[in-house]
């Protein structure tokens, strides 16, 4: 733990950790921010820890998926390609040296991540915006980062009633309309939370 120049505050790392847990009041935050150099690495670490604890197994990495994939492909290209070896089924337990096992296991993990990342990249390219693979085959998700009206491609969506064709452009207009549908007395208090809840891809 770092030495604390200000006895009345908790240690700096504790304070940053508390900030990421949303447990720091305005006054304390100002004191921390004003108190010296920006602990960039610590912040990134605390954010990652916080994301992992809150999201569990589905924690999203800090690096954008495209960068992650590019970095992984670079590292894989630099490694010697593993030769596929048919592993005979051993009826008895054979104790091997830890170094050899570690290498194989690490490769299996890397290959697993590479295929997952490749699947995600392909799905990303198809979709254009967000959803994860393995979700229902919804391809039209209105993206707030792309305000241009998408072309009127019919899109096949799974519904409990069977596949239904939806219009991607119409979905975008519906999303734009909901953004301004708060302009009514009833929709004001309830409509806003209704629109923030409603998900078009759930059809």
């Amino acid at each position: 733990m770092n030495a604390d120049p200000t006895p009345s505050l908790p240690t700096r790392d504790d304070a940053w950790s508390a900030l990421f847990d949303g447990a720091v009041a305005e006054a304390e935050w100002s004191a921390i921010a004003a108190g010296g150099d920006w602990p960039g690495d610590t912040l990134a670490r605390y954010q990652l820890i916080g994301d992992a604890l809150r999201a569990g197994a589905s924690a999203v990495p800090v690096t954008p998926p495209g960068d992650f994939l590019a970095g992984l492909q670079r590292r894989l290209a630099e490694e010697p390609r593993p030769v596929p070896v048919a592993v005979p089924v051993e009826p008895s337990v054979v104790v091997r040296g830890p170094a050899a096992n570690d290498g194989v296991f690490r490769w299996k993990l890397a290959a697993g991540f590479a295929s997952l990342a490749a699947v995600m990249a392909v799905a990303w390219g198809l979709v254009g915006t967000a959803p994860a693979p393995g979700a229902a085959p919804v391809l039209a998700q209105p993206s707030p980062a792309a305000p241009a009206l998408p072309s009127a491609q019919p899109v096949l969506v799974s519904t409990p009633q069977g596949p239904v064709v939806r219009d991607a452009r119409l979905e975008q207009l519906l999303a734009d309309h909901r953004q301004f549908a708060g302009q009514s007395a009833l929709q004001g208090p309830t409509g806003f939370i209704r629109n923030a809840t409603y998900d078009a891809s759930e059809r």
């Binding site: 707030p144 009633q161 219009d167 301004f180 007395a185 806003f192 939370i193 809840t197 059809r203």
Partner: protein
């Protein structure tokens, strides 16, 4: 009869445990405006947390809601539980929506959210001309006793609403949009609600400010007027007033050709007219679609294509598209 229709019928009809309040009982019947004021004040003065479920047609969406107020300040956090993960924060009129899958945070200003409590008190408030309030009993929802009131439309150009307003606070805990013969087109309801929950504004504010790891996007919406864009309605649709108009600047779109959104409201329902340049490859038919209570209708108007979207009957949308007229060449 399908199971879905039976369920809707059960929801739409008054169940046996609803108690009808006798006329002239402890409180006299409230008017539409009085109910709307009560609903708004409840939202402005109460803190709560809960789970909200939205049922629209065949879609069901749910989210966790945190709502706090502090005098004039309001904060909300809405975290979706279904579909695409998304967390929306609101601080008065400022809204920021985090989408973890794309690591984008969209920042917007929703001025309309501050409009209505004041608008209810102005002479322009036409809501009572087009809706009446009818108290229809009380019912428990999410563990809270609620008064049931129906806002019934006076004409066929709009839908009705059935509102469950929590007895003590007035907070809306369930809301149904009703179509023909009282059919439930859409429902928004708390499945779980905790009033006066200990949520602090500071904690929500800190979460709202934390955009690290996200690309912050501010969509460029340019406020404008329909006149400036060269449009008018040659015949007004009764009850619906023009609320706002803007163009969505998009990269690559020719100057002056950006799609326009013109928003109308009758106080309870809203309609958006989207106008863009006609493109024969994309605009191949005069489409009509519906999802829950939201309908749409499209039409070609000269060199333009208009799509009307709103929580109103399709016939009303067709009146809008038929009335839209170009004033500039």
């Amino acid at each position: 009869m399908t199971a879905g229709a039976v369920a809707l019928g059960a929801v739409a009809a008054l169940p046996s445990w609803a108690q009808t309040a006798p006329a002239g009982a402890s409180t006299p019947a409230r008017s539409v405006n009085e109910w709307l004021n009560r609903i708004h004040e409840a939202s402005r003065q109460r803190a709560y947390t809960g789970t909200l479920v939205v049922t629209a047609g065949t879609t069901m969406s749910a989210s966790r809601i945190w709502h706090v107020c502090d005098g004039t300040e309001q904060m909300e956090r809405i975290e979706t539980l279904t579909g695409t993960p998304r967390t929306t924060f609101r601080h008065n009129s400022e809204v920021i929506t985090f989408t973890p899958d794309t690591r984008t945070a969209v920042v917007e200003r929703r001025e309309a959210l501050g409009l209505f409590p004041d608008l209810l008190r102005t002479p322009n408030n036409v809501i009572p001309q087009f809706y009446t309030a009818r108290e229809v009993g009380s019912q428990r929802v999410a563990g809270h006793l609620a008064d049931m009131v129906e806002f019934q439309p006076r004409d066929e150009l709009r839908f009705g609403y059935r509102i469950w307003s929590e007895r003590q606070t007035g907070l809306v805990i369930k809301l149904q949009t009703l179509g023909e013969q009282g059919a439930v087109l859409e429902q928004v309801a708390f499945s779980e609600l905790k009033l006066e929950a200990p949520v602090t504004m500071d904690k929500l504010a800190a979460m709202m400010r934390d955009t690290r790891g996200y690309e912050v996007v501010r969509p460029t919406l340019k406020k404008t007027t329909p006149e400036a864009q060269g449009w008018r309605l040659k015949e007004a649709v009764p009850g619906f007033a023009s609320m706002s108009c803007h163009v969505r600047e998009t990269p690559g779109a020719a100057a002056g050709k950006a799609p326009m959104q013109w928003v109308f409201s009758d106080g309870l329902a809203s309609v958006s007219l989207f106008v863009e340049a006609y493109d024969p490859k994309r605009h191949t038919e005069e489409a009509a679609a519906a999802t829950g209570a939201t309908h749409s209708a499209s039409r070609r108007v000269g060199d333009h294509w208009v799509t009307a979207v709103g929580e109103v009957p399709r016939a009303t949308l067709k009146r809008f598209t038929a009335a839209l007229e170009r004033t500039k060449p």
